[in-house]
Each structure stands twice: as C-alpha cells, then as structure tokens.
Amino acid sequence: MEILVCAKRVPDTSENEIQLNDAGNDIERDDLVYSINEPDNYAVEEALQMVERAGGTVTVATVGGEDDEEILRREMAMGAKNGVMISDEAFEGSDGKGIATILKAYVAKNHYDLILTGVQAEDGGAQVGGMLAAMLDYPFASLVTSIEVLDGGKLKISREIEGGNKEINEIDLPCVLSIQTGINEPRYVGMRGIRQVASVPIPTFGADDLGVDMAAVGAAGNKVKRVDYFVPPAGKGAEMLEGAPEEIADKLIVLLKAKGGLN
C-alpha cells in the first residue's frame, strides 16, 4: 500500500503560552517552539504500522518552506521512506482550500492508495482532508480511530462520534482519512534517528512542477481571510486564590465545604 501523509509544522501549544504581538495582527512568534502538528504524527505512525503489516511505503509531504523541513526529517526518522517538500512563493498565505488545491495537484501526479491527514491543526480548521477528497472525488472519513485493511481494495474504519461511541464504516480505496489522536502510540524519535536521515534528499516541487491552479492559491486566491487576532473575552472570570500553597489550600477547603466538595 502506497500511503501519503500530509503534515504541518505548528507552534507547540504544550510548550508555549500563545500571546498576541504588540500590533495585534498576529501571535508573538519570536520565542515559539515549533513541532509537527500532533494529530499528523499519529497519522504517520498509523501509516507506518499499516505498511509494516501489509507492505508498501509511507511518504510524508508538507506545503511550506525551509523551516518546515525539520518535521519531514523527524517523520523520516520515525520510518517514513520519503519526504516531499511542496514549496513556492506563490503558495504563501493560502487558505485551507488553497492548501487542498496544492496537495491535489501533487497527488494527481503520483499514485497513492491512501491519503492521511491529522484531524485538525492549531487553527482548528479541520478542513484540508475533506476538501482534498472532494477535489479528487475520493471517499472521506474524519475522526478516524482505527483502520483495518480488508480484501478487495477497501478498509474497515471506526470514527469517533458523541459520548465515546464509535461509528464503523467500510470505505473503498483510494480514500482520504483524517486521523484522531490516540489511535496508536507514536514511536519515540531520538536525535540519533534524525541524524541518520539528515542527508537523505528531500525533493521540492513548486507551482510549475505540479501544474497548480493558481487562481485558488496564495493570499490573493483566498475565499477566507483572517482579519486580526484578539484576546478572548474574560467570561465570568475566576476568583484567583493567591499565597503560599498551604494558604491557598486552606481557602479552597472553606469553599469546597460550602459547595459540597468534601464528602
């Protein structure tokens, strides 16, 4: 099975406090720690496990620039055979549809049985996989929590639905699946592993190589534009307890008693 995983480099929210910049037009990016979008890492692990069972190769692609190469190397160190950089000045500022348009052009020039994405990225868009599938006329499923390969060019998948329940589907290949976190336990990647793939060439493809429909990409092609960033309203706002841990605990116990939290 030939599997393509579409991945993205994002600020790591477990490592960073996300703040507004002074101008209010972006987040403060100077000291951010970046990493692979967490659900994308689960998608790569799932692809690797499928290939270990059924044969084939895993390719990881990203639409980005020089800085994004580190996530391709990381996923190659995990075991992905190929890394692919899709990069062009004309792609900068593309919205979700623009990214899907670029990926569609890449997929049209290659053969993949299965395309995986993470379920969503830092902007919570949850859109590129579904759009890509529609552009390719492939079937799609989101929030996928298990994959089993069946005979006859199809998969049995489960999707996460409300209340912890699962929806079981059969889906024909080729298809696009967006992978939910927790589907597997992604393997550890050490510095040694990353060094071992440091010199493996990563091909780069641009707009001309892929024959991208330029009307739908880049900032000018966007249907959806972010205007600004702002701090969310405070809501009712918590009463903050301050002091030494023992003092805070004493204050909290008084409140807990009043609210039925001590039984």
Binding site: T13, I18, L20, I27, G96, E122, G124, G125, A126, Q127, G129, M131, A134, Y138, F140, S142, L143, S158, R159, E160, I161, E162, G164, N165, E167, I168, N169, I171, C175, G182, E185, K223, V224, K225, V227, D228, Y229, F230, V231, P232, A234, G235, K236, G237, A238, E239, P245, E246, I248, A249, D250, L252, I253, L255, L256, K259, G260, G261, L262, N263
Partner: protein, 328 residues
Amino acid sequence: MPRIFAYIQHKGGVVDDTAAELFAAARKIDAAATPTAVVTGWGADFDAVCQSLCGSFAEVWKITSEALAYPNAELVRQAVASVVPAGSILLVAHDHFGWDFSPGLSIKINAGFVSDILDIEGVAGNSVKLVRQEFGGQISTHVLCDISTGAVLNLRPGAFKPAEGAAAGGQVIEKPAPAFTAKRRYIETVVAESGDVDITKEKVLVSIGRGIGEKDNVAIAEELAEALGGAVSCSRPVVDAKWMEKSRQVGSSGKTVKPKVYMACGISGSFQHLAGLKGNPFIVAINKNPKAPIFRVADVGIVADMLEFMPVLTGKVQEEKSALVGKR
C-alpha cells in the same frame, strides 16, 4: 443577500438541539432572514421530524431515501449538493457529522468554508465577518469569508443562543434524492464501554489533563479524589497517552458529567472538553499557565503546578476530615 439554509440533524424522531442555534445564527447574518431547513432521512420518524420543523422554519426541504436512513456524511453530501442552489449560505453544526460533511460539500458547491464559528458579526459587501478561536481557545480571531459564490459555515454547538422563528404553518417541500455513489458504507455503531467507575454519577470529580505528566502521577490525583470522596476523570490527552481508560474521559467525545464540584487540574479547557460538563458545577481550575482558557469559565482559579499543589491539598483535606471526626 444570499438565501440561507440550515442542515438539521435528528435522531430517533427528535430534532437535534443545534437546530435552534442554526436558526439564531441565520438571524445574525441577516436579521430578516427566514432560513430554510434541509433534512435528510427515511421512515415514519423522519416524517415526524419534518413536521416538527415546520413550527419554526417557513420551508422544510425534505430529501428522503432508504440510503439516507443513517446520516452517512458521504451520502448526505451528495443529496444536499444536488438541491441547494448555487450561491447559498448553508449552516451546519460543527460536531462529528459537520466535520465529516462540510469541507467536502464546500468544494462540491464551489462555496467558501469556515469551521468552528463562535459568533457572526454580520455581512459587509461580499463577505460575512465571523469569530473563531485558534490554539485550543487561547486566541480569538476575526475571519472574513467571501460569500459571492456561497458559503458553508460550521457553527460550534452551544455558541449561539437558541432562537426559534414564529413561522407556524411552515411547509414541507420534498426534493428528489440523487443517484448515490456509495464509496463509504455505514456498518454499525459500537456503544462505549462503561468502565470500572461511573464518572457520570460522581458528585466530586478531580479531573486531570496533560499536566499530569506521566501515568505514575495519576495516583496523586486518586489520593486527592479519595480524600474529597470523589473520583478521578480526565481530558482527552490523558486517554490518548493511555494513562487512563476512555470511560474516564469528560468531553464531547467522552462522557457528559454533572458533578457538584469539578476540579480541573492541568486541563487547558478546550470547548470539546467543556461540552461534557453540565449542571453548572463549582469549577476549580489549577493550571501553571495563567492564560489557560479554563480560567475564563472557572469559579476559582489557582496558578500552580498541579503536581505540587495536589498533595498539599490532599494533606489539608485529610487533616480537616480527621478534625471533624474528632469533634463527633
């Protein structure tokens, strides 16, 4: 102003709560809007759904086929794309169905798409101005979506105050189902296992998030929960890391709980997590990050490392309880 449609979900003959939220959102796009409901389904239950929608929608577009008996997004998308006129705005709930259904639909009908919308600030020129959040709710954004060729807008469940139209006597208009291509087939729904502890029945929950750090630390939370006479629940990352069972997860993809006291420890407070919290509990938030979204909804907040604070609190609670016993 483009025509506004709302795709309405239903189950077992009952209209989903989000229907009135989509109606409210339509009125935020256009105060004079009379949105049209679009529904898909099959059977007597479905007929009842269409009738009840006539209470608030002036028109209910009904697409019925045995293939639509279960809302398989791949088939519903084909049905809706075949009836919605070009240039329309379609509103959809951003739940597990909306995630599956909408991005692809926007491509099929050549419309803009925006997911997880919290608010709508109105239309100016060819664009609708929307409010979203990024980074798990840490930052908000305004987004403009070009609606000149229509738009599919996915709205966060619970974000819009429900409203209903006074369009009594609305009518059901049956629209033809297309010839379906079934490349994805629904097999069955597997109901979640109940687990050893039923967190939906607990009065006190000590709920842990990613901040618990490692599996061995779960015991620290268990000691606190035991002292308080409650149980330990958790957020999604703890289940993803296999530190606790899925049956302990609070949230839209986990359990819905209604404790008196909810202690959110190292939980950032994503809306998917908060969606599982009902009955207006007293929320205590403990988090290292003073900007964590959980502090916006909590009653009491403590900026601290949960791993250091929890044992202190456990000790104090135990002292308090033994003092109470002493008095008796």
